[in-house]
């Protein structure tokens, strides 16, 4: 067959590097640098010895990199009079975060499911109250909560701080799950009802498996939120259960002896490691989950 010669525009449109595109890249690059410099400084400082730090060369690479500061930060650094490093705080935070995240997500998803599918009398009012709860600045309710927890004997306990995180997580978790479930087709729920499934069967067998993307988002939001919490932990957790953030502050702010910048940097990075890891591991799901929610309303 004879080849036909096409003139004028044909085939895929050529990609052009325009000035505005270059501008976008330049902006992104400078933003990345801006956020990376502190991280870089922290990392290399934590690998330096104190004598090297005293030279004041903030950006120079360590001459003799060592993890000694990291080991010390983890196991020996002093906060106040105790010198067990930041590990106690780490395990406290784990003990606080895991149950709080699990409980708040389970309750939030049940709430969201009930609110979007089982419209009962006053369900809109309840949702309104929860929404309002999401916007109440939490400083306002701290004092009543302290009294409440003291009355029920949970003030300054692990259970108490878990309860507090669950309460504060409830509005946003409910909102997240309600919106997600509302985006699922109503007929799916109707079909399950005709099939004879009850409240819990529909939840566990139909809706839960469908809500994996939004659950990933919820896990990320709650884990980072609760891990990074400082104020609530300080107020409600009690002396024995202070979370890592509080302990980090105690270590960094200890005025006792020399300031060991390398140890402080290492302790800070250690504290930030968990949220960082969560973002890196689940970034793909996070974006997908948020996007799915956004597109479906």
């Amino acid at each position: 067959m004879e080849q036909i010669q096409l003139t004028g525009p044909h085939g895929p449109k050529p990609k052009k590097t325009t000035v505005s595109r270059l501008g976008v890249y330049a902006f992104l690059f400078s933003a990345a640098v801006f956020f990376c410099i502190p991280l870089y400084v922290m990392l290399i400082t934590s690998l330096k010895g104190m004598s090297e730090i005293r030279l004041g060369e903030l950006f120079s690479l360590p001459g003799d990199p060592s993890f000694a500061a990291w080991v010390k930060a983890w196991g020996e650094a002093c906060s106040g009079v105790e010198c067990n490093g930041i590990q106690t705080g780490f395990w406290n935070s784990v003990k606080i975060t895991i149950p709080s995240v699990a409980i708040s997500i389970i309750l939030g998803s049940i709430n969201g499911y009930a609110l979007s599918f089982w419209r009962f009398k006053g369900s809109n009012l309840l949702f309104g109250i929860l929404l309002f709860g999401a916007f109440v600045p939490f400083q306002v309710v701290i004092f009543p909560l302290i009294i409440f927890l003291r009355e029920v004997g949970l003030y300054g306990s692990l259970t108490g701080i878990i309860l507090i995180h669950t309460i504060f997580g409830m509005p946003i978790m409910t909102l997240l799950f309600r919106n997600y479930f509302s985006s699922l087709p109503d007929e799916l729920f109707k079909a399950a009802r005709v099939d004879g499934a009850n409240f819990w069967q529909i939840f566990f067998q139909i809706m839960m498996p469908l809500s994996i993307p939004v659950t990933v988002v919820a896990v990320i939001l709650q884990t980072t939120g609760i891990w990074n919490d400082y104020l609530l932990g300080l107020i409600f957790a009690g002396r024995e259960n202070l979370p890592m953030t509080v302990q980090l502050n105690n270590i960094v702010a200890t005025t006792f002896g020399v300031r060991e910048y390398n140890v402080n940097m290492a302790a800070t990075i250690l504290t930030a490691l968990v949220p960082l890891a969560i973002y890196l591991l689940s970034g793909k799901y996070f974006v997908r989950g948020i996007a799915a929610g956004a597109v479906k309303g």
């Binding site: 087709p185 007929e187 799916l188 109707k190 079909a191 399950a192 009802r193 005709v194 099939d195 004879g196 499934a197 009850n198 069967q201 067998q205 139909i206 498996p209 469908l210």
Partner: protein, 357 residues
């Protein structure tokens, strides 16, 4: 014996009165189609029968049992949804067996029922696929299968074919009809496609604004529409209309006179009132025939050839008129043509109330 009986059913939302004192009796083994334009309350009615909506007043009986306050699962119904509503994370087999498992049925019996349903619907090779791996037609079949395994008296279909392309729709339509002939259970089928309604139904209920306008066989609905709405709703293109007056034996419209000899009035006797005369495009002709009378002469506006037939449009006194003629008619645009009409096939509706005369 009635399979479904709806008595004085009312359904209100806060601001909308969707179903109004609706009464409907559906016989055992009957294929009833609910037909109406969008938003007239067909799905709402079906959901009321299924128990998925709380009704405001009235009763629903299924198999001579008052099920008004019963849960959907206890009503002895199976339902097929417009969006199929298959459980996305489950295989076809799990989709079919979910309801039975929830009921606590024995494994062996579940197997048996799933096998039987998948054989009837020819979805055996698909049992281990997820819904996302199925074509539209296959999904539809699985959705029907899910109702089938429940082994129920009553099937409810909510526009089950409206998401499919025309060809597949025609195929599945035939399959549903075959299924009904085989199973002989009661089917209530919602659609807004009149071809589906006419081909499938034993009886059609035509709805408008939450009220049933006419409940009758397809032939009756087509040949003896009870009011102007039904007359215009059924048929494509829809019925041609003239507004005039009945004077004795004649329908008078300006200087035109149509002799009504042979028209069967519901009420015999003298008529003398303002009325609409309606005539379907297929009951008009462009050449004189036995029993036809000449109506008018008009200019051809548009020709719509459809292969076996051609629809000829005229501009007649400010109204669009259409005539269906055989496909090999030699006609030209802008020509004049004579239109003939068969008075026996005409329809007369009172101007007052728009009911059939």
């Amino acid at each position: 014996m009635n399979s479904i009986s709806i008595k004085e059913l009312d359904l209100k939302y806060q601001d909308a009165h969707v179903l109004k004192q609706l009464n409907l009796n559906i016989k055992k083994g009957e294929f009833l189609v609910l037909l109406g334009s969008s938003g007239c309350g067909k799905s709402t009615l079906l959901n009321c029968i299924a128990g998925l909506l709380d009704i405001s007043a009235g009763q629903i009986w299924i198999n001579d049992r008052n099920v008004t306050w019963e849960e959907p699962k206890d009503r002895g119904i199976g339902m097929v949804f417009q969006s199929y509503a298959l459980y996305p994370q489950m295989t076809v087999e799990k989709n079919l067996s979910f309801g039975l498992k929830v009921k606590g049925m024995a494994k062996g019996e579940i197997r048996e029922r799933v096998d039987r349903a998948s054989k009837i619907l020819q979805i055996e090779p698909l049992l281990h696929r997820k819904p996302s791996e199925l074509s539209g037609g296959q999904r539809q079949r699985v959705a029907i299968g899910r109702a089938l395994v429940r082994d129920v008296e009553v099937f409810l279909f909510d526009e089950p074919l409206s998401n499919l392309d025309a060809k597949l729709r025609a195929d599945l339509r035939v399959e549903i009809k075959r299924l009904h002939q085989k199973l002989k259970n009661t089917m209530v089928y919602v659609t807004h496609d009149q071809v589906e309604a006419l081909t499938l139904a034993d009886r059609i209920a035509i709805m408008k604004n939450g009220e049933i306008q006419q409940l009758s066989t397809p032939a009756d609905i087509y040949h003896k529409p009870c009011n102007l709405f039904v007359a215009q709703f059924i048929g494509s293109p829809s019925m041609n209309l003239l507004e005039g007056r009945i004077v004795g034996e004649n329908f008078v419209y300006q200087d035109y006179r149509v002799n009504l000899m042979g028209y069967e009035f519901i009420n015999q006797g003298d008529h003398d009132e303002n009325a609409f005369l309606g005539i379907r495009p297929e009951h008009l002709a462009l050449e004189p025939r036995d029993g036809y009378v000449k109506l008018i002469s008009a200019k051809i506006d548009i020709l719509e050839p459809m292969g076996d037939e051609t629809i000829v449009w005229f501009d007649f006194m400010g109204r669009k008129w259409s005539v269906k003629v055989h496909g090999d008619h030699q006609l030209k645009w802008d020509e004049d043509a004579d239109i003939y009409l068969d008075p026996k096939k005409a329809h007369l509706f009172a101007k007052q109330g728009e009911v059939r005369l």
